[in-house]
């Protein structure tokens, strides 16, 4: 049942995850502007999440339905956060 899907090189993915983590920690300690740093570290977090999802959770081998179960809730998260922004993010 699981055999028809491939097995990515899990250890290689792990090295990437650790490397990306170390990078984002390093960048956060360097004296760049806050907003630039934030963009980079969250982009890195996004890449790490995608690596885990595609490889460890085998999302790259899954059908459209499973992909949508990952994507649609994320969309809702963006919509909710965006709509609440004017009311909640101001002080």
């Amino acid at each position: 049942m699981a055999g028809e899907r491939g097995h990515p090189n899990y250890v290689a993915v792990w090295f990437w995850l650790v490397g990306l983590m170390v990078t984002s920690v390093a960048i956060s300690q360097l004296p760049f502007s806050k907003s630039a740093t934030d963009v980079v570290i969250f982009a890195i977090a996004g890449v790490k999440a995608v690596l885990v999802a595609l490889n460890f959770m085998h999302l790259r081998f899954e059908r459209l339905l499973i992909y949508s179960l990952a994507i649609v809730p994320l969309l809702l998260f963006f919509i909710l956060t965006a709509v609440l922004f004017p009311d909640i993010a101001s002080h």
Binding site: L76, L80, D87, I88
Partner: protein, 584 residues
């Protein structure tokens, strides 16, 4: 066809499990049909509680600060010599809404109907995860106990509205209710967990375990409705659970997520609540409509009109339901730039529902209509929904809503839509599927008496409420006579209260009918309504495993009055070649 979980062939229908003993058969059952009955029992129990809470509210509104007949026994400080103090009234309006939405509507329309019908209608032997199913109904039972306990703790049950707006709900001192509100939050969290489990079961079962030949566009509309409801619930409840965690922390740990003096945002609660709350009302509405959509073709002996438009409309309404929530918040102080977009989406969402209403009417048009009790209720679902839906349009437009928000206008609007789904749709389903569920027919005379009492007095209660609301009567107020501008409307309140009492008593024929028929009703045949869907190909009630052999499906569910077949119905699983139509 192989079992998609283990790859093995499915077992034949199980022999009668009479050797499982009482507890495994009736209490700790994994059979979806038994679980459905357990959900039904929970829902009907809470319906009585919810109705009694409404009776108390209505008495206070008609005759403020007088003793409520029959309730002199409630001890102080809850009630004082049968009179309702303001704090108790706040509890009544809160718990009436909470109970009806979460412990009546959801258990009956999703727990009972969804669990009973989905496997049967798709030709499966049970749900994909039977033990998870059992866990879900037991979590709901536990949640019920928590909610019941909340009535008896010091301070009484929750009293900040079923919507629990912060900061009223975030600090015990504001309502005088302490553990009652905390238990309310916990009970709801458990209820959400129960229906999350159920939703996972519904969706996995319907996607994976359909009988051969049962493509998605041959599914009965009831299944489409249950599935859409499950998706809506699954994807909308998360933020509210997050909000509930934050509310509990505000109450118990001194945080200020929602308390302005600590840097919190009361409006945040409203957004998180309604982000879930709006899809939730469609979670309730859709299965109620689904029951009506199953029943109308059967008793018009006509195919459903516009099957695909109905399916597409349901999906469209589901998607749109995620982007209309702020229409509950127009006068709340939210950013004014949100008013127009949300008005726009709200008006848009009326379109798919209008399509479904027109399809229901067109289904009846030219049909050979009979009027047994399920059909009366299905027609009632349609009629009542039209009023509810039309009045929703006033509420959905921000400029109009500013006047009618939080008045009895909106109370009446949502009772029309909720009654349409829960009462009329729910009873339609109960009367229609009772023979299949319990193997007995319900009494037709009692059923018709029940229907007419309910229909007439429901309208007597809620139609005048539109005028109360337009006349300025606000929601949730304790004593309308305190306000000079409302005093002239008081006769309406008195009338509504008496109509409500008759409506409540009018449910007695149903209670009598239900219990009497369980034991002494006429034994039901396999297909008393001559309907096409797969549940009617099983015995009444179906055995464990439902089908002796998994059926094969050849057509959609609504092939009625085909000229090529001698009967005026044609079940989904009958492989008959149609008789040739004579030439000329």
């Amino acid at each position: 066809m192989s079992d998609s979980v283990t790859g093995k062939a499915p077992p034949e229908a199980h022999p009668h499990h009479t050797d499982l003993g009482f507890w495994r058969t009736y209490v700790f059952s994994t059979d979806h049909k038994t679980i459905a009955k357990q959900y039904l029992a929970i829902g009907l129990f809470w319906a009585i509680v919810g109705g009694l809470l409404a009776y108390l509210m209505r008495w206070q509104l008609a005759y403020p600060e007088t003793a409520v007949p029959g309730f002199g026994w409630v001890p102080e400080p809850h009630m004082v010599d049968g009179i309702i103090p303001p704090e108790f009234y706040n509890m009544l309006i809160t718990m009436h809404g909470t109970v009806m939405v979460f412990f009546v509507a959801m258990p009956i329309l999703l727990g009972a109907f969804g669990n009973f019908l989905i496997p049967l209608m798709i030709g499966a032997q049970d749900m994909a995860f039977p033990r998870l199913n059992m866990l879900s109904v037991w979590v709901l039972a536990f949640s019920s106990v928590v909610l019941l306990v909340s009535f008896f703790v010091p301070g009484g049950a929750a009293a900040s509205g079923w919507t629990a707006y912060a900061p009223l709900s975030a600090k015990a001192v504001y309502t005088g209710v302490d553990w009652g509100q905390n238990l309310w939050i916990i009970a709801l969290a458990l209820e959400f967990a129960s229906f999350l489990m159920g939703g996972v079961n519904f969706l996995t079962t319907a996607i994976n375990m359909r009988a051969p030949g049962l493509s998605l566009f041959r599914l009965p509309l009831m299944v489409w409705m249950e599935l859409t409801a499950a998706v809506l619930f699954l994807l909308s409840v998360g933020p509210l659970i997050a909000g509930a965690v934050m509310l509990l922390l505000d109450r118990l740990a001194g945080t200020s997520f929602f308390l302005p003096e600590g840097g919190g945002h009361p409006l945040l609660w409203q957004h998180l609540f309604w982000f879930f709350g709006h899809p939730e009302v469609y979670v309730i509405m859709l299965p109620g409509m689904g029951a009506a959509l199953e029943i109308l073709p059967v008793f018009s002996r006509k195919p459903i009109f516009g099957y695909r438009p109905i399916v597409y409309s349901t999906i469209a309404a589901g998607i749109l339901s995620f982007v209309v929530w702020a229409h509950h918040m127009f006068p709340s102080g939210l950013d004014p730039r949100l008013a127009m977009p949300f008005s726009f989406t709200t008006i848009l969402i009326s379109i798919p529902f209008a399509i479904i209403v027109f399809a229901m009417i067109a289904t009846l048009w030219g049909g050979s209509i009979r009027f047994p009790t399920p059909m009366l209720y299905a027609l009632g679902t349609l009629a009542v929904f039209i009023v509810g839906g039309l009045t929703g349009i006033f509420n959905g437009s921000a400029p109009a809503d500013i006047y009618i928000h939080d008045t009895y206008f909106v109370v009446s609007h949502f009772h029309y839509t909720l009654f349409s789904a829960v009462f009329f749709g729910g009873f339609a389903g109960i009367y229609y599927w009772f023979p299949k569920m319990f193997g007995r027919m319900m009494n037709e005379t009692l059923g018709k008496i029940h229907f007419w009492l309910t229909f007439i007095f429901f309208n007597a209660v809620f139609f005048p409420m539109f005028f109360l609301g337009a006349g300025g009567m606000m929601r949730r107020i304790y004593n309308p006579l305190q306000y000079e501008f409302l005093q002239s409307l008081q006769p309406l309140n008195v009338f509504i209260t008496y109509a409500a009492i008759v409506l409540f008593l009018g449910q007695l024929p149903f209670v009598v009918n239900f219990f009497w028929s369980l034991w002494a009703g006429k034994k039901a045949e396999q297909n008393p309504w001559e309907a096409n869907t797969l549940e009617w190909t099983t015995p009444s009630p179906p055995p464990h495993g439902n089908f002796e052999a998994i059926p094969v499906v050849y057509r959609g569910p609504y092939e009625y009055s085909l000229p090529e077949v001698s009967e005026d119905w044609l079940p989904q699983d009958r492989p008959v070649e149609p008789r040739p139509v004579p030439a000329g």
